[in-house]
Symmetry: C2
Subunit: 293 residues, 2 copies
């Protein structure tokens, strides 16, 4: 069910992005190459699934917001893959952007995707200006120097350590690097929310927990996964001397923590008393922590 929902979400996101990104320069081509590629579309899916619970956003606006989150995610992958960062040659089943287009163009394409995320929000036809301002704020905070960028910095720094990180530091890095944008995806679906405050906070907590669970699973998959299924290099964390959950506490313990976080996340959703309307988000959460295990 989730796979179908994600496939449909990806289609909607790709349709919109395909129509707004032109093909008039190599930078446009590089933008299209990365953002229209075979993404799992989990973050856009979270926007849409969160939006199902909100009566105050139109489907078109949810698609706008889903696109903006996917744009930020994609720009960050392009920059993270650069030789001076994680130096990854493969992404989403094909050459990384800098392998295909060269380093300068990859940096520029990332920068342009970054701008486009905000441009799309500003130009949405249905959302109120207040909702747009909130969206810009949520996205910028999740991405910037106290969010995703900080997480990537700490992640790179941790590679240089001679000893392993402790679990708290690991959790901090993962929450920043992956969790913040996952949580932002949930919040985007709740702009001008029709839910009461308490439920909004519960959803935000869910976003934070499932984001961390997702990243722990990513660490597990880097160890145990098949690169042809994952579409990116495996063991790249090991190659980069990255501090992963698996490295720090072992595979068994990592699986235990991931399961625990997943159960807590889904427990939050169950306790919200929203009945059937929560089912899409719930099955998406289950999907996020059960990929190819």
């Amino acid at each position: 069910m989730s796979v179908k929902f994600l496939t449909r979400t990806r289609e909607l996101v790709h349709n919109k992005l395909s129509s707004v990104i032109s093909s008039s320069s190599l930078i446009d081509e590089a933008m299209r190459y990365s953002v229209l590629s075979n993404s799992k579309a989990i973050r856009p899916g979270l926007v849409m699934a969160s939006g199902i619970l909100n009566d105050n956003l139109t489907k078109d606006s949810l698609i706008t917001l889903a696109c903006s989150v996917e744009l930020i995610h994609t720009y960050s992958l392009i920059h993270d893959d650069l030789p001076s960062m994680d130096d990854d040659d493969m992404r989403r089943g094909k050459d990384s952007s800098h392998i295909r287009f060269g380093e300068a163009n990859a940096i520029l394409a990332g920068d342009a995707l970054h701008d486009l995320a905000f441009e799309l929000i500003a130009n949405d036809d249905d959302m109120s200006d207040a909702a747009k301002v909130d969206a810009v704020n949520i996205l910028a905070r999740a991405s910037g120097s106290s969010g995703m960028v900080l997480g990537q910095y700490l992640d790179i720094e941790s590679e240089k350590l001679n000893s392993d990180l402790d679990l708290d530091d690991m959790e901090k890095i993962h929450s920043l690097k992956t969790g913040k944008l996952i949580q932002a995806s949930i919040l985007m679906g709740q702009l001008e929310s029709s839910l009461d405050n308490k439920k909004q906070i519960m959803l935000s907590d869910f976003g934070s927990k499932i984001g961390l669970a997702f990243q722990v699973f990513d660490d597990i998959l880097d160890e145990t996964g098949d690169s042809s299924i994952l579409g990116k290099s495996i063991k790249s964390d090991i190659k980069n001397h990255k501090q992963t959950y698996v490295k720090v506490i072992g595979l068994e313990q990592s699986n235990f923590i991931a399961d625990q976080l997943a159960a807590e996340s889904i427990g939050i959703l169950d306790s919200m008393g929203l009945g059937e309307s929560i089912s899409t988000l719930k099955s998406l959460a289950e999907y996020m922590v059960n990929r190819n295990r």
Copy 2:
């Protein structure tokens, strides 16, 4: 007069940025290092000087907008200086960001400054939501794949040519790479403008022309300037085989074109019939095209 105005503007911008960027990570340090450095503050100055003509924005909001333009400009300089781009070691009188902090941190600091530009707009205390949305839109469009990023791409591409560009192509690159953000600075000061439509269009045209003039002068200064005054490497355009006005049409013709564009720009301001209130913008325009000639 302009120098004093720019110094004061820089002070206001630095005060605000200094209070919003923390010092809790090396990325914060790298952000502060670049954005609190010895900038000429021309773009922030244009926001403030344009804003003098607009009764509908508070001074605090103008400072917010000036900061956001300076943040975008600074992020673009950090990325442009990278080894895979223009490979410049010196910027604003000191080491480039990647020389000081390493390439990965420079890319990340640029990305975080990029986010902060939008975050500041979203969190301004005085502007209406409508004005904020306009500001985000203006800034994102000026910076992205049909603006500054495209200009930088075309500029790098032009280095690979065996023959010189023609003047139209040169003008296109310069207008995109520098002109768009200069023009955006003018437009930022005119959000919710109290001027009539015709005058707003005239100001926009002024922004476009003075932006191009400014870049032609930059080409001239790269040839004739003193690096200790300019605070960046000179002859770097030649080193990079860049297509500059000076290379394509010679120094004398470049000076002629710059003077002509400057005269046209200032002519637009004179013809607006705004009396004394235009004087700050006018002297700023004069300053932009007479630096150290």
